[in-house]
């Protein structure tokens, strides 16, 4: 099969690739003039925001663009063989055997009606003509290779019987079954929790070294790219704008978009008051509305009329670089070390009286085990003895992985569920057992929520203005329609949307704009407490900065208490005043942001912090990878909830962790942890993140 191929040549060579999608109306160019080279054993990162064409490039390498997509120009060479001109038969020989792909959603990419073993064994059976028994044996070995416990049980399981992390390991195992030369990873960890993500990233890196596989790693997360890749290619609106080795691009970027991207992500050291993030102005151009000349031109600080918008801009090599190139005409003229001009220092808002107080809040669900209502009832302890206070004008972050009970907590506070026991005091009024239908309008309008997914939370058949006015009507705001319309327009001003947007339908808005409408709706009744449930996790990085800043601005003006629920620790560090870390329904650590992000940590906080990839070459991060998955809340481990995964467990004498739930301890003023570790061991803890000496 493999004709003579010189291993010193690139394994994948894409040259001037252009891909278009054809609709009845027009041709939509998705990728233009894209070139990149992947050498054997090298891992190449593709970074960019959604819609920039990075996944399209990956699918083009697989030649799987669907019915409408077509490669209109350029070439893709794999081991010197032209992929663009291959017929189906040849392609089948390469797919899965020499190029394999790992996908974003592991659950969706495994066949639900086939056993894991059969899905894995299929690969060598097709490509190497291996016998069934031998193929299953190989599958068993690879499953052990991806560090899954009990391979025999897993081979005979169906996909739905595994957790998300395990499923992704299976997808990886499937890709490795025939030892491919090139592995394409399309956002392989986006759907997973951070601690699981850390494990997967480690695995991918190790396997890459072990088998000498080249990788094309697609991600929107710059930190992840730095962890995994040797080189990267930054894409914007269908074009590669900068390419080079990771350290060089991160430290000496030579394209304004790359620079703007780095300025809009919360790196350690950013602070909402003294060093706020700088969002990229304007919006991503739609594929058929791209500007003349430089695509980034209209949003660029260095834009020069008549020059940047004159003609298409080619990639130009940067001398002295390691195959470093940029698609910018002015890269040699710009002073790349100048500090950003528009950095507005903001006043820290004072923290006022206690607005919300929770004491010993518990929320249990009972579920029955039988499929038809029978069986023994089990209790899921979603929240266990939750106590805290939130002050006026304060941002309190609630951090934890999926299943830790943070969303249940939000539901209880909103009144969508009632607590099992404990009290929720909102302005000295106990709302614990009052469901939302029975709360009075004042209470409802003062506790509001900003939802995670702006795409699903707006009514698709009602225009934006009408939706906000509807909220005002529900909150009994104003006496006449005119008054409410005026207020609605004011609210649009507050969330920095043009007033003309009142007549638009949600589908005409981008994700960031929709989230702004969601925020306007939440603040319509003058909310005092706003629960923001992962408000920016569905948005692109450049938009995230703008939306978080907006939330901060509104908070400063209205002295709102913001409960910020998130799994993203970098954004939490950036904007919160106090942090609450949750694990399996328990609050394991609480304190001010400084206290939580610096040692001594709760062992879980430590692991969580080390799992977050940081896109800064100067940061040295200690790697702590948690073994296994989060235990099920139906069947929590005895004693400390974290004991099954804790790396400090051996430091506690007498197996106390196995037996007893640790008590709440005060380490400092306002800093509490739930842990059995003694004070001197806690004092020995080292910081997870260190800045390298410059």
């Amino acid at each position: 099969m493999t004709t003579a191929w010189d291993p010193s040549k690139p394994i994948l060579e894409i040259e001037h690739l252009s891909i278009s999608f054809f609709t009845r109306l027009r041709e939509i160019p998705a990728v233009m003039d894209f070139s990149c080279k992947v050498m054997p054993g090298e891992s190449m990162g593709l970074v960019g925001e959604s819609g920039c064409g990075k996944s399209t490039v990956a699918l083009a390498v697989m030649r799987d663009l669907g019915k409408n997509g077509r490669i209109v120009a350029g070439s893709i060479k794999f081991k010197g063989r032209e992929l663009v001109k291959m017929d189906d038969e040849e392609l089948r020989g390469i797919r899965g055997s020499e190029i394999a792909m790992i996908y974003q959603e592991p659950m969706a990419s495994l066949n639900p009606a086939m056993k894991i073993g059969a899905q894995l064994a299929e690969v060598p059976m097709i490509h190497q003509g291996m016998g069934k028994e031998e193929a299953w044996k190989l599958a068993r070995q690879i499953v052990a290779d991806v560090r899954l416990p009990d391979p025999d049980r897993i081979l005979n399981a169906f996909p739905h019987q595994l957790s998300g992390g395990q499923q992704q390991r299976i997808v990886i195992a499937m890709a490795l079954m025939s030892k491919p030369a090139l592995l394409i990873l399309d956002e392989p960890t986006t759907a997973l929790d951070v601690t699981v993500e850390a494990g997967i990233v480690d695995l991918v890196k190790d396997l890459g070294h072990k088998y000498g596989t080249s990788m094309l790693f697609i991600s929107h997360n710059l930190g992840l790219i730095m962890d995994v890749c040797d080189r990267l290619c930054v894409m914007y609106s269908g074009e590669a704008v900068e390419t080079g080795n990771v350290v060089q691009v991160f430290d000496e970027m030579r394209h304004p978009y790359t620079q703007a991207l780095f300025r809009s992500i919360p790196l350690p050291g950013a602070d909402k008051n003294t060093r706020p993030l700088i969002s990229i102005p304007g919006n991503f151009p739609l594929p058929h509305e791209r500007p003349q000349g430089c695509n980034f031109g209209p949003r660029c600080d260095y834009f020069e009329k008549g020059r940047c918008d004159a003609a298409d801009i080619p990639m130009s090599d940067i001398p002295k670089g390691d195959r470093h190139a940029s698609r910018c005409l002015k890269w040699a003229e710009i002073d790349w070390n100048a500090p950003p001009a528009a950095r507005v220092v903001k006043q820290k808002s004072p923290i006022g009286r206690v607005v919300l107080k929770m004491e010993d809040l518990k929320k249990y669900y009972s579920i029955s085990s039988g499929a038809f209502g029978g069986g023994t009832a089990k209790v899921v302890k979603a929240n266990e003895t939750l106590s805290f206070e939130a002050h006026e004008g304060e941002t309190l972050a609630i951090v934890g992985e999926s299943g830790c009970g943070k969303s249940t907590f939000a539901k209880v506070l909103m009144g969508l569920e009632t607590a099992t026991s404990g009290s929720i005091m909102l302005f000295d009024e106990n709302v614990q057992s009052t469901p939302i239908q029975k709360r009075n309008v004042d209470t409802v309008s003062s506790v509001q929520m900003v939802f995670q997914n702006p795409f699903d939370t707006l009514n698709p058949s009602m225009n934006v203005g009408r939706q906000i006015i509807r909220a005002l009507e529900v909150f009994h705001y104003g006496k006449s329609d005119e008054e409410r319309t005026n207020r609605m327009l004011e609210l649009l001003d507050v969330v920095k949307l043009p007033r003309a947007f009142a007549d638009r339908m949600p589908r005409q808005l981008s994700g960031g704009q929709k989230q702004r409408v969601g925020i306007a709706r939440a603040f319509a009744g003058g909310a005092k407490v706003v629960v923001a449930d992962e408000p920016v996790s569905a948005l692109d990085v450049s938009v995230q900065a703008a939306v978080t800043d907006l939330l901060m601005d509104i908070q400063r003006e209205n002295k709102t208490t913001l409960l910020f629920i998130s799994h993203d620790l970098s954004i939490v560090r950036y904007l919160s005043d106090r942090v609450l870390v949750m694990y399996l329904g328990h609050v394991v650590e609480t304190g001010t942001t400084d206290q939580v992000f610096n040692p001594p940590y709760h062992p879980y906080t430590e692991a969580l912090l080390s799992a977050v990839p940081v896109a800064d070459t100067k940061v040295i991060r200690k790697r702590i990878v948690l073994e296994g998955d989060i235990p099920s809340a139906v069947n929590p481990p005895p004693g400390c909830p974290f004991q099954t995964r804790c790396r400090w467990k051996s430091q506690v004498p007498n197996g106390l962790c196995d037996r007893e739930m640790p008590p709440v301890r005060n380490l400092a003023e306002g800093h509490q942890i739930k842990c059995h570790l003694s004070d001197d061991i806690l004092a020995q803890m080292e910081p997870v993140i260190k800045m390298a000496a410059e």
Partner: protein, 361 residues
């Protein structure tokens, strides 16, 4: 699994009781009983005589008690008239009343006597069920494979020419009810005056006057292709369109799933993608529809058997309903209810086997 089946059987019995009670109540409404009295007794009876006939023949009293009698859980009625003759539900003519059993309902195997066919209900029912059973079997054997094949072929490449042709066919056939397609088929293939038969017979290709037989009465004793094809085709045609549409919808949806892309990018050939990866997943939804077709067949059978004069369950039901044959109707309803519930049980169990995500504890 066993517990699930037992529980479902319990639910089935309850449903059957409720449904048969509804039928019992409706067939035993006073006007029906009056009609029965006049047809069994004398047409010229006075109203008073009708009322006493109803009471004398055990149709008086509470409907619940009579239902219980019919089931066989309450003692059957016993009356001694002026002449000293004792009659009762459980006393056959010329038998000694003292030896007759106390209970005799359907539980005891006494399904009553058909007033139209002049035979015990159980006997007529058995005969007609057997006839219909053959018809249904033939329909299923023809309909299910054809429909699945059409659905899968149409759905595996959405929007292709094959898809459009097959979809047009299935829409047309599911939009044609049996009483239309049956007449068309008869006109085309089984009429000596129109359609194909006069042509073929003119060319001397067929011996008889028609290609197929327009009536299926002879199939009661001896099923042949020529007397059975048209009734089978009439019922199957409608179902084929319907099941094919469902299969196609399910197949197109499955083909857009990510795991199909995974399979394709594993290097699996298109044929194997369809057969190994898509088919089982695409069968989950149509399976329920196919099982739902069984009760529906009972419907189709009524029209088709009447049209082709095939003396099966449907024909018998029409005759019994037209002649106020209460006990026959009740018997038929029991059979129909059990049949429908049993197919639903099979459908649920089969669903579990097809779909590993559902597991019964």
């Amino acid at each position: 699994m066993l517990r699930f089946v037992l529980r479902r059987l319990g639910v089935m019995v309850l449903t059957a009781l409720v449904l048969t009670f509804v039928v019992f109540y409706l067939t035993n409404l006073p006007p029906n009983l009056e009609k029965l009295a006049r047809s069994e007794g004398s047409v010229r009876m006075t109203d008073a005589a009708v009322a006493s006939w109803i009471i004398d023949n055990g149709h008086g009293g509470s409907v619940f008690y009579r239902y219980a009698e019919w089931l066989g859980v309450a003692p059957g009625w016993v009356l001694t008239d002026d002449k000293g003759v004792t009659r009762g539900l459980c006393i056959r003519q010329n038998d000694d009343p003292a030896l007759a059993p106390t209970f005799c309902g359907i539980f005891q195997g006494n399904w009553g006597f058909s007033t139209v066919f002049k035979k015990p209900v159980l006997y007529s029912l058995g005969k007609s069920m057997a006839a219909t059973g053959w018809l249904m079997l033939a329909v299923m054997v023809v309909m299910v494979p054809v429909a699945l094949l059409i659905g899968v072929l149409a759905g595996m490449r959405e929007g292709s020419r094959t898809d459009r042709v097959l979809s047009t066919f299935s829409i047309a056939s599911s939009a044609t009810p049996e009483y239309v397609s049956g007449v068309i088929l008869v006109a085309l293939f089984a009429s000596p005056a129109t359609g194909l038969s006069p042509l073929l017979s003119g060319w001397g290709w067929i011996g008889g006057k028609t290609l197929f037989l327009g009536t299926a009465t002879s199939a009661m004793d001896n099923i042949t292709f020529w007397n059975f094809a048209l009734p089978v085709a009439t019922i199957a045609l409608y179902g084929v369109g319907y099941i094919a549409r469902m299969t196609r919808a399910s197949m197109t949806e499955v083909m857009t799933q990510q795991y199909i892309r995974t399979a394709r990018l594993k290097g699996v050939a298109f044929r194997d993608v369809v057969l190994r990866h898509a088919l089982r997943n695409a069968m989950i939804a149509p399976f329920t529809v196919i099982m739902l077709q069984f009760p529906y067949l009972l419907n189709g059978v009524v029209i088709t058997e009447t049209l082709f004069n095939y003396k099966g369950f449907g024909w018998m039901l029409v005759t019994a309903a037209g002649n106020n044959d209460i006990e026959m109707l009740l018997g038929a309803s029991v059979v129909a209810v059990i049949f429908v519930l049993a197919t639903q049980l099979i459908s649920d169990i089969g669903y579990v086997f097809l779909n590993p995500r559902i597991r019964l504890s």
